[in-house]
Symmetry: C2
Subunit: 209 residues, 2 copies
């Protein structure tokens, strides 16, 4: 099937959102934890986390346009601290429910049944039920003027993960910790390892490692 830009632009809004959100591939599934200066906690699901670099260790995510209330992002701007928490199959419904538009003074932790966890005196809450937890400090917010989104860049401060999935060469087998992925806006996927391949070089056959 072939759709042109003109045909995509003519699609009903929600239909187009479903299609374009699905087409780029499998997405990561994380919960962003924050706490406001007034000590209100907040939790929201994000599927746009992207690796920016390892030295320094930087992660980005795409913040949707300003205009509607964005409690999580306001907390990040005010406090410079946030956490990322991996979603596994046991907490999919609670994680998805965080995307509902709750009033500012309601915590998505309480509303969805997920538990706050406070680690290493970090300002922002972690999700106790998550298996992989990352503390981040805001580095920069880069405006993406073409559609009023923003790239939010954070530097990793602490990471927490099960030692059972930590391989001797540093690889973290997140698929062994029941980590899920997201397809489109609302579909959750389990993953299973097919293969791990050696570093690619010209004219040298790849090996499974």
């Amino acid at each position: 099937m072939h759709l042109t830009l003109e045909e995509i632009n003519l699609l009903e809004k929600r239909h187009r959102a479903n299609l374009i959100n699905s087409i780029s591939g499998i997405k990561s599934a994380n919960l962003v934890g924050t706490k406001s200066d007034q000590n209100n906690t907040n939790l929201s699901i994000v599927s746009s986390v992207v690796h920016l670099g390892s030295n320094p260790p930087l992660l980005g995510y795409i913040q949707r346009p300003r205009g509607v209330e964005r409690h999580t992002f306001e907390n990040i701007l005010a406090t410079k601290k946030y956490t990322l928490n991996s979603i596994h199959s046991g907490i999919i419904k609670s994680a998805h429910q965080t995307s509902a538009r709750y009033a500012r003074d309601l915590s998505e932790f309480e509303q969805t049944g997920l538990s706050e966890e406070w680690l290493n005196e970090f300002h922002a809450p972690f999700v106790k039920e998550a298996h992989i937890k990352i503390a981040l400090e805001l580095v920069e917010v880069i405006p993406i003027s073409v559609n009023d989104t923003e790239l939010v860049i954070g530097k990793i401060q602490d990471i927490y993960f099960p030692s059972a999935i930590y391989k001797p060469d540093g690889h973290l087998a997140i698929y062994e910790a029941d980590t899920v992925g997201i397809s489109g806006l609302d579909t959750y996927l389990k993953t299973e390892k097919i293969t791990r391949l050696s570093y690619a070089q010209p004219n040298i056959p790849l090996k499974e490692i």
Copy 2:
């Protein structure tokens, strides 16, 4: 297990790259197809594609620092045209092999056994073996000064996909087309649907859809 930023910074370079590339979650797996002004084609694997918006339909990916030769990116800058092609389980080894550093005049298509496909008179080549194919026009390259990477933004021009995975509401079931994900630098994952959930609203139970 807990690692602080100081401990992460002390890790051996490759070990740290494996760890930090793994920790943010499951990544999409795509091949970027380009053609230079001299008609040399190029193909490279990318795991950092991120959805930026549906109206207009925009996708981004993170380009690693300038300095080494980056044939694909040079072609994008020169021609403004590129394609994204989904990786499925049958082409994992060829896709991974495109990350080897081939000389400028060698095409990764020839070197890896993947086939060029030319559709709708678009300047850049698609990967014939891929199931989901996207034609993109460069919109903007945004520098990320903190680590000399760049966010490459493209507007979707055409999309091609199997009609069998196109749901009535626009959702594209890419996991039904054997699309794989990537964990870390080199590990390929298959995916399977767990559930699809309704739009979340406060105090309304989620439904499976």
